[in-house]
């Protein structure tokens, strides 16, 4: 039902009523808040569990602090490269963006690789998920986190491919945001399972 | 519709049932009456032009919200009291009161399994762990007018001990022992059902609550084997047709 022809003079194409956040960023935060509840919930149960059963957590001396420490550095480096990727995206230097995104993905795969080595050694020594409740939580939580790192690395590669077609700064920003989230979760997991 | 209540304290649960269901019915009927009135009064043939504002009398219908709040509070009060009597008071405290007041009680351990109930009795000496303990399958035999203290657990999955005529129900959980109690006030044989899906024969996990007079109970507990002959008549009466 068109009543009149009118020129919308304030707007270039179409204007929307919105909360003061870009829709891509907002959508990503909606997704992230769900993830925070999942991983946060499971880590919180781990923490509560440790407070109630400190004797089970004596098992944590069998976890590999060295590999985990290297992994911490790997993840933090990945966060750094993700931030740099975003910075160069704001400068529209897309070549450097691809470089730093690639390094971030590399960090992710390095993390997975080291995790693989770590799990193999532990299983070789008989520390399987069914051994006792500590190992149940350990494999469950670090496994889930590792899955998120893997998915994160794959998403970064997806973003790199997407950026060859369209230059969207927010995609880089959101990828970085996801990486920071995975990083922060790790910073809770590391002391919980590796530092007695 | 409710099965007969043969316990001394079941009336507390019945009171909450009557208030909650009765209140729901009354509020429901009133709401429906108002709704029917509006549907009839404001149908298009009777009211072709919608009114600019809701008629003032009907605006008063919002008071139903206050009625709900008051009803809710009354219901909570009565319900919490009944719940307190049954489950909040620690069972050892109840037992101590029963002993102090000189009232009588028996103890039974109940284990739910797929698909039968095991009732463990302490025997003549009244203590568990002695040589005169014995088990019965699917028969909970208790004396009239005695408190019955139940320790309930499960041997496999979650079951639920439901004795309708005594208004008691609680889940039997593996790895946990729950303490319940009730006090039957009438003799007879009553049915016990499982009220938590536990597998294929969940619907056939039947046991019997056999309330004997004190005299008959003494006779029964003195002798062995502890068959429950009164059960045979009961089962015949209700045998599958």
């Amino acid at each position: 039902m068109v009543e009149e022809t009118k020129v919308l003079d304030k707007v270039e194409y179409e204007e929307y009523e919105s909360i003061p956040v870009s829709f891509r960023k907002f959508g990503f935060w909606v997704f992230l808040s769900g993830e925070i509840v999942i991983l946060g919930g499971i880590v919180a149960s781990g923490i509560l569990f440790r407070l109630s059963y400190p004797e089970w957590f004596a098992n944590s001396e069998h976890t590999n602090v060295i590999i985990a420490s290297i992994n911490t550095l790997v993840l933090l480096t990945g966060s750094l490269t993700a931030v740099l990727a975003h910075k160069y995206a704001t400068f529209h230097d897309w070549g450097k963006v691809q470089l730093f995104l690639g390094l971030t993905a590399l960090a992710g795969f390095t993390f997975i690789g080291l995790k693989f080595v770590e799990y193999s050694r532990e299983i070789h020594h008989g520390f399987v998920p069914t051994k006792n409740v500590f190992w149940m939580f350990y494999y469950g939580i670090t496994g889930l986190h590792g899955l998120h790192v893997l998915v994160g690395a794959l998403i970064i590669i997806g973003v790199m491919i997407f950026l060859t077609k369209k230059k969207v700064i927010e995609a880089v920003e959101n990828a970085g945001l996801y990486w920071h989230f995975v990083d922060i979760v790790w910073l809770y997991i590391f002391p919980l399972f590796y530092l007695t | 519709m409710l099965p007969i209540d043969i316990s001394e304290h079941g009336y507390l649960v019945d009171r909450v049932i009557k208030i909650s269901v009765g209140g729901a019915v009354i509020i429901g009927i009133v709401s429906f009456a108002i709704l029917f009135y509006m549907l009839w009064r404001f149908r298009r043939s009777k009211n072709p032009t919608p009114l600019q504002d809701v008629p003032p009398l009907l605006k008063k219908v919002v008071y139903i919200d206050f009625v709900m709040i008051i009803f809710d509070l009354i219901l909570l009060f009565v319900s919490t009291y009944a719940w307190f009597i049954f489950f909040i008071r620690p069972v050892d405290k109840i037992k101590k009161e029963v002993v102090d007041k000189g009232e009588k009680f028996v103890e039974v351990k109940v284990i739910g399994r797929q698909f039968f109930w095991t009732f463990q009795y302490p025997g003549k000496d009244g203590k568990f762990g002695t040589s005169d303990d014995f088990n019965l399958g699917n028969a909970l035999v208790v004396p009239e007018n005695h408190y019955v203290f139940v320790k309930l657990t499960s041997g496999d999955t979650i079951h639920s001990l439901f004795i309708p005529n005594v208004r008691i129900k609680y889940d039997a959980i593996p790895g946990r022992e729950t303490h319940l109690w009730f006090k039957p006030a009438k003799t007879g044989v009553y049915e016990i059902a499982c009220a938590e899906l536990c597998g294929e024969m969940h619907y056939r996990m039947k046991a019997y609550l056999v309330v004997l007079s004190e005299k008959d109970y003494k006779k029964w507990i003195e002798g062995a084997p502890y068959e429950v002959s009164v059960l045979k008549d009961f089962e015949e009466k209700f045998a599958k047709k």
Partner: protein, 571 residues
């Protein structure tokens, strides 16, 4: 603040060339097509879920029709399908997708590709579920609530392992699909509204969809964690929930994780249905919502409260009796915001000029039946009466009067109401009225007696009542319920046939606003083209329910109007 519609501009370019059949109807990113895909898939799953119910009801009337494990499996799948593969996809994925962008004046959802992925994930979850029903080893048969240790111990019953694992995987896929949809709904409704559409001018339907998506987002995530733990228990033999001597494992933890989700979940499906009811009732009563702000705030409060009532499912299941008391208090009190919303809904009829179209009949029946459902929640929420009613047919009656009215009656009201908009055709009115009355009668014939069985102490999930003396005398009630259920399903099957027929050969409806409704979706053509508004943009000038504006020829003021866009420069 304004969004430059960069994403949508990209769509306009894409829309300018013809799309292949596959891109237009199968792998479409258009929210209307995706919505219809959800609707149709949901309706097909409803036939499957309904048929399962008929089979186990026949067993209740004539024991021996099914084996024991078949009975348990049918009951399990009926419950799971109705909640997750019928109610959620139709109410959220179906109506939400079709209507949210139209009602707010957007051209599509914020993330159309994600939307398409969400539908196909849902489709995959349906396929996995159906496969799980037919695998060797049997379907999962531990109740839709999946309580361990029954569900986690493979030796305990038929259908463990493959059937159970696939069932849980199907659930996980379905959750992922709804989460993706939820991200879209929340983002779109908050960031892509037409000019002039402030939050307090949103149609209640949109509010409800956003709140439902938020509830789902924050409640399902602990259950996803729990499902992973359960899968580990089944596949690897861990003992998160299994009880083994000397090891720590707690079956009650699963119950907490499940019901922490389970309670907000029922509001996830209730809110969109309430949204549909408000849209339908205002249109055919020609009156605005009685107190718009009250409804919005009461619903927000109810949504928040829904996170602290969950253990009313566990009053007699091993929780601390003191916390049970607390949960009973919150549960009974949550009836307050809901009674406010329902009173507002009822008073929307007051002073109106009510036209009893099929949509209005279904909506009114839904409203009335839901009152019964809500009130019968009180004997269950009061902890002491729940001792008696827990796991009896009283619960079955309560949840059918709430869930059925939501998932079926409100849905059908919405279908009759928005059918012209979605398909450009009408469903026959006379058929609709007969459909409504028959549904009401047969539905009550099957559901109302459940309360009496509950009062008699009849437990749930029993393949037959005949094993117990105190239940045998109620066998005639089962027969009555079964006959009513069969007639009810038969009526719905006829409706589904008419529904599909009307999509292709129903009477055409070219008038964009046949019901004279105020909201924005009625400004678009029927059905709306890709990107909805063509070279026009809707602007919003007033609230969403300006009815009873008694002017010369019309009694309502549309919420907005379309204005032609002349862009300053091409994007």
């Amino acid at each position: 603040m304004s969004q430059v519609a960069s994403a949508v501009g990209h769509h306009v370019e894409a829309g300018e060339h013809e799309m292949s059949f596959i891109r237009k109807y199968i792998f479409s990113t258009d929210h209307k097509t995706i919505g219809k895909q959800y609707l149709i898939t949901g309706v097909i799953m409803a036939i499957f879920g309904g048929a399962l119910a008929i089979f186990f009801r026949i067993n209740l009337a004539h024991p021996g029709f099914l084996t024991d494990s078949q009975y348990n499996a049918f009951v399990t799948y009926h419950g799971a399908i109705m909640f997750f593969w019928v109610a959620m996809p139709i109410l959220l994925g179906g109506f939400g997708n079709v209507l949210i962008p139209l009602m707010i004046g957007a051209r599509d959802m914020a993330f159309p590709t994600l939307n398409m992925i969400s539908y196909w994930t849902f489709f995959l979850s349906s396929v996995v579920l159906i496969i799980s029903f037919f695998v060797p080893g049997g379907a999962f048969s531990g109740g839709w609530t999946v309580y361990p240790p029954l569900s986690s111990d493979p030796e305990r019953f038929l259908g463990a392992n493959l059937g159970t694992v696939l069932f849980i995987l199907a659930l996980a896929l379905e959750f992922a699909s709804v989460l993706m949809g939820g991200v879209n709904f929340i983002t779109t409704a908050l960031t892509l509204r037409a000019k002039g559409m402030s939050l307090m001018r949103l149609p209640i339907f949109v509010w409800m969809q956003v709140l439902a998506s938020l509830l789902f987002l924050f409640s399902v995530t602990p259950l996803i964690a729990g499902a992973i733990m359960l899968l580990l228990d089944i596949i690897l033999g861990t003992h998160f929930f299994r009880v083994e001597a000397g090891k720590i494992g707690d079956p009650i933890l699963w119950q907490h994780l499940f019901w922490f989700f389970g309670h907000p979940e029922v509001y996830v499906i209730l809110f969109p249905a309430l949204g549909i009811l408000f849209e339908v009732i205002t249109t055919y009563a020609r009156r605005p919502v009685f107190n718009y702000k009250l409804v919005v705030y009461a619903t927000i409060v109810a949504g928040i409260l829904s996170f602290v009532v969950w253990a009313h499912h566990q009053f007699v299941a091993g929780i601390n009796p003191l916390s049970a008391t607390g949960f009973s208090i919150t549960t009974v009190l949550i009836s307050v915001p809901f009674s406010m919303t329902l009173v507002a809904m009822g008073l929307t009829y007051a002073g109106g000029s009510i036209r009893f179209t099929p949509a209005m009949l279904f909506a009114t029946f839904a409203f009335a039946m839901f009152i019964i459902g809500g009130l019968t929640g009180l004997p269950l929420g009061a902890v002491a009466s729940d001792i008696y009613f827990h796991d009896t047919y009283f619960v079955v009656g309560h949840f059918h009067y709430t869930v059925f009215t939501i998932a079926v009656l409100s849905t059908i009201a919405g279908i009759y109401h928005w059918f012209p908009k979605m398909f450009g055709r009408r469903i026959n009115d006379t058929f609709g009225k007969i459909h409504a009355w028959l549904t009401l009668i047969f539905y009550n014939g099957f559901a109302f007696p459940a309360f009496f069985l509950g009062l008699a102490g009849h437990p749930r999930r029993y393949a037959t009542a005949l094993e117990f003396g105190y239940l045998q005398k109620y066998q005639w009630v089962h027969e009555l319920m079964t006959i009513s259920a069969i007639l009810l399903l038969a009526t719905q099957v006829v409706f589904i046939i008419v529904f599909f027929y009307s999509i292709f050969a129903g009477k055409e409806e070219t008038e964009p606003n046949p019901w004279k409704s105020t909201t924005l979706e009625w400004l678009a053509p029927s059905p709306p083209p890709h990107l909805n508004w063509g070279s026009f943009a809707p602007i919003v000038e007033r609230g969403p329910y300006e009815y009873a504006r008694n002017g010369k020829d019309i009694d309502f003021l549309p919420q907005g109007r379309l204005v032609k866009i002349e862009p300053k420069h091409k994007v």
